[in-house]
């Protein structure tokens, strides 16, 4: 792990227009430091996915500059950027194609030219990490939705990229799987990996309290701590999202003199207990 303040991704005045003329990004400036946990939020079509697709070179800027680990993405191939920046797509069915889970996880490692014994070791490690060891020889198509998502995640984590991007990690999963995944992501970040998630699931973000970037219509409207941004009613309304349920409750109880900048369940409970004790 490098120095914690080194910028791994730098975005300078990034503009992007799709070939069909849709202007998806309009002047984005953003610095992401190594080891940071960032959530990019905003409504559908705000440009979130378009932005992160620049981080591994799938899209190239129309105007402006994106630097990954000090290198301009214009100059390097997707494959060489992918080695540093892992991208887990929203729908695992868009990438699973092998006969066994093991092969699926080894696919990227083969592309990157890892040696056979290293591949075996890393596959074992990644499957173990995501609790998929018993499915090693199973066809990925036989697994449930949540398991398929985990296979997709394992297939990216296997090559241990510096940055992991997760596009809508919370979609299509039941609450328990979502919670497990959330804990896993937090743990990954705690171990020093830079994690970027793209989502409009406020509750999912509220429980992690990462740095949040809000986007609307291709522009960044806010950048800061989740706790500050998600409790700002006007700001979240501008990005067409609603504050977390906890925040909504406390905004409703404002007249009782309770704080309104809460997003975390445990903190909320502590505040409520304190005020109940004080009043009794």
């Amino acid at each position: 792990m490098g120095s914690p303040h080194k910028e791994i991704i730098k975005v300078r005045n990034l503009w992007f227009t799709y070939p069909n003329g849709v202007q998806a990004l309009r002047g984005i400036n953003l610095d992401i430091k190594e080891g940071e946990f960032l959530a990019i939020m905003g409504q559908n079509g705000a440009g979130k996915t378009t932005l992160v697709k620049h981080f591994n070179g799938l899209l190239k800027p129309t105007r402006g500059e994106v630097l990954v680990d000090g290198v301009s993405i214009r100059e390097v191939s997707v494959a060489s950027l992918a080695r540093k920046v892992g991208f887990v797509f929203q729908n695992p069915d868009h990438q699973l194609f092998c006969e066994t889970v093991e092969e699926e996880v080894a696919f990227a490692l083969r592309n990157f030219g890892f040696k056979e014994d290293a591949i075996k070791r890393r596959v074992t490690w990644a499957l173990n990490l995501l609790g998929l060891t018993q499915y090693r020889q199973t066809s990925p198509f036989m697994l449930s939705g949540g398991e398929r998502k985990r296979v997709a995640l394992a297939s990216v984590l296997a090559w241990n990229p510096k940055v992991v991007i997760l596009d809508e990690p919370a979609i299509g999963q039941d609450y328990q799987q979502k919670e497990k995944l959330r804990q896993f992501i937090v743990q990954l970040n705690a171990q020093g990996k830079t994690v970027i998630i793209v989502t409009h699931d406020v509750e999912f973000v509220a429980e992690c309290n990462p740095r949040v970037v809000l986007m609307t219509q291709g522009k960044m409207v806010a950048d800061g701590e989740a706790k500050k941004l998600l409790t700002n009613y006007d700001l979240v309304a501008e990005a067409s999202i609603v504050p977390p349920q906890i925040t909504q409750i406390f905004l409703g109880l404002k007249d009782l003199g309770l704080p309104t900048d809460l997003i975390d369940v445990y903190e909320a409970r502590r505040v409520l207990l304190n005020s109940l004790e004080a009043s009794s």
């Binding site: 494959a79 992918a82 797509f89 069915d93 990438q95 696919f107 592309n111």
Partner: protein, 264 residues
């Protein structure tokens, strides 16, 4: 991709766009039959120019030219194949004769005429009209539905293919690397998810259709009913007339070859 651009329908209004698609299809079929009937250059040149007014009336010159440009590459291949193979089988030791060149050229022009008429047809007929035309020509509804659905899902599949390509590239897949066989094999990680998701999508669509009572009534009615109007009858008449003339010309008129007409 420019070849396909030359067949993509755009919603505009013109006398040709308003024609009954069934009659337009009859016209295309007649063009097809005539083009196949003749292997001399003169009638095929005539056939090429006969269709020009349609392109102009429909106002699709730009798209039409694009389809022609797209066909050029194939046309060249057809010319070379015809020329080279016929030459080696028939006239090899001598120099190639003018007749051979004319023959190869007419084979090429035949292809261009076919592309031309199909291009005009697809450029001026909306997929919805095409479905309607099939339905109201008493083709079983199941087939019509399958056809229109297939047409409608082409852009959806194209978009999905792009997403899958991105997902695999993000896992280090390099499509443009390696020998020819390697490059072909590179497409397996794209094709499998695409096919699987297409099958899945079609099953879902089938369930959604059935839950909306698809096929409940034997006889379906249509909101839009195709009506054959005066211009349609005129085009049908012209098409049949052209066919009769062509048959007459083929059997009773000596068609001169260009080599005898031109002073070489």
């Amino acid at each position: 991709m420019s070849v396909f651009e030359g067949f993509r329908f755009r919603r505009v209004s013109s006398p040709i766009h308003r024609l009954d698609p069934r009659v337009k299809f009859l016209y295309v079929c007649v063009m097809f039959v005539i083009a196949v009937m003749f292997n001399k250059l003169l009638p095929l040149i005539l056939l090429f120019f006969v269709q020009m007014p349609f392109v102009w009336m429909a106002g699709v010159q730009r798209e039409w030219i694009r389809s022609m440009r797209g066909a050029l590459m194939f046309a060249l291949i057809i010319f070379l194949f015809n020329f080279v193979f016929t030459y080696f089988y028939t006239e090899y030791p001598q120099l190639p004769s003018m007749t051979l060149i004319e023959y190869s050229l007419s084979m090429t022009l035949r292809f261009i005429v076919l592309v031309e008429s199909f291009s005009v047809f697809f450029l001026t007929t909306s997929p919805d009209h095409l479905g309607l035309a099939l339905e109201q020509s008493r083709v079983p509804y199941e087939f019509c539905f399958a056809f229109t659905t297939a047409v409608r899902f082409v852009p959806v599949l194209a978009e999905e293919a792009q997403t899958i390509m991105d997902a695999q590239k993000a896992r280090g897949l390099e499509l443009e690397r390696g020998s020819f066989m390697k490059r072909v094999r590179n497409y397996i990680p794209i094709l499998i998810p695409l096919i699987v998701s297409a099958i899945r999508r079609s099953l879902e669509l089938a369930e959604a259709m059935e839950s909306r009572a698809w096929g409940a009534s034997e006889k379906r009615t249509n909101l839009y009913v195709l009506k054959t109007k005066r211009p349609d009858y005129a085009l049908a008449f012209v098409s049949v007339l052209m066919l009769i003339l062509a048959v007459y010309a083929l059997y009773f008129l000596p068609i001169p070859s260009l080599t005898t007409l031109l002073p070489f």
